[in-house]
Symmetry: C2
Subunit: 277 residues, 2 copies
């Protein structure tokens, strides 16, 4: 089953179930509980992109293997599942769509592109309370022209080591396809960021570095030096979760899913072999 | 002092301080605490329109008599008060503006017009979690043409007895100036409602009655019968607080405030005399 969902991350301790901290509310816990309730059996899910505590999603995908309806041994009638699931879920997470997944579909490994947005109300501008949930605030004015000049040089395939939290055995090479700041009609500054995939904390570290340029603390060369010479910026530059929203995940056409799965498995084997050496 | 504020009512037990239930969070409590902290002395406020638990405001006004700065005996430097107050207040209530009130300004009695909006996502349409705070949902589709036909006949000065919670000695005559439903680009249906003033629960009762027309439960004649024959509709038709937002309060020019105050006092005396007879 392929499930599309959206959530306000404010009240969640992130997307993923946590091994420690059983009492913590997570999107995965809420969704799996609701699915298990409908199916009368425990259901496990796999997500496209685990988001951190406080991070939102306007589009997120999950897949789950669902056994047949135990009462008639047949496939479930999933047409009204969004309605049923949304009746069970609290209103800060909504199921948008439920459909049968194509063969070889994997929510995480099939995905070929992810996009995020990061919203900043700079210069102490007023944030309407009803629209505050997904906006971070910054007290200084930011110069989006300078920020875009620096961020344009990040487009391409690079080792984003400096902007990723270290994880044993994980590659930090990513292909960044868009990293652009737009001054919205609302007055906010929004970063539109797209890549094949992101490492842990990468977007918030990139945003923090760009803000250092935008407020005039550092020059563009500082940000390029971080990227090319693998120097990590101070963790204090990383920006808070509340401004960050996962907005889109792209999958290839159904008939390319098998080829995509084979490539992913091959790459993982290669990586594992390297690690074993 | 004249203070403009905005709030998300979700986490508040209404605007007004409550005599019972001291532990309950209200906007007035939060604001008066913040003002008292800045002024080092207890400050009391008067609001333009008390809103119910769960009701929001994108524009609300308050006045307060503020004693001079005790440290120098002079007027306060209020230029940075919005900043100071917003540092103390939680982010679901924001001070937009602080200015010295004109002579005879009274946040409640000087106001000559109030406007509300009521947002409904009908026909079970999807409500994005990040934009859910001020939207009520309704499962049936609503016909805004029918609703507008009925609501147009409510424009004018009428006794809105049927749509007001009974309060001893209060008039229920109000001048309704706008009551219009608009299908927004978002798909939601928004009611724009303006009057000189509103009685308690009046907007939510009017919205509930209009929805009965929009979903085809009753004809327009039913709604007009309620108004003209002082028949109260079932309380179950009243709509929830979350869709309701106070959006604007209009005051006359400063040089008309005295005349306005005199008229208000005269009307109150008249009412009191009638009550005494």
């Amino acid at each position: 089953m392929k499930i599309e969902l959206a959530y306000d991350g404010t009240q969640f301790n992130g997307y993923a179930k946590q091994i420690k901290g059983e009492g913590l509310r997570t999107v995965q816990n809420d969704l799996e509980s609701a699915l298990s309730m409908i199916c009368h059996t425990p259901i496990l899910t796999v997500v496209a992109g685990r988001t951190d505590a406080g991070v939102h999603a306007t589009q997120q995908f999950v897949h789950a293997d669902i056994p047949n309806d135990p009462y008639n041994g047949k496939n479930w009638d999933i047409e009204n599942w969004p309605y049923l699931l949304n009746r069970i879920l609290r209103d800060d997470v909504r199921v948008v769509k439920v459909e049968r997944a194509a063969p070889y579909f994997h929510a995480r490994f099939s995905a070929i592109e992810r996009s995020y947005e990061y919203k900043i109300a700079d210069n102490l501008q007023f944030i309407p309370p009803l629209k505050r949930l997904d906006v971070a605030s910054w007290f200084r004015p930011l110069d989006e022209v300078k920020m875009n000049e620096a961020c344009a040089e990040f487009i391409g395939e690079f080792d984003f080591y400096s902007f990723c939290k270290f994880r044993e055995g994980s590659s930090t090479i990513r292909a960044l396809r868009r990293f652009e700041w737009v001054r919205e009609n609302s007055g906010y500054l929004t970063a539109y960021i797209t890549a094949d995939a992101f490492c842990y904390n990468m977007v918030r570290n990139l945003v923090g570095a760009a803000v250092c340029i935008g407020e005039g603390r550092f020059e563009k060369s500082w940000m390029l030096d971080l990227l090319h010479n693998h120097r990590r910026p101070s963790e204090s530059y990383s920006f808070p979760a509340r401004g960050l929203t996962l907005t889109s995940i792209v999958y290839p056409p159904d008939d390319e899913l098998l080829a995509r799965a084979q490539r992913t498995i091959a790459r993982r084997d290669e990586q594992r072999q390297r690690d074993d050496e």
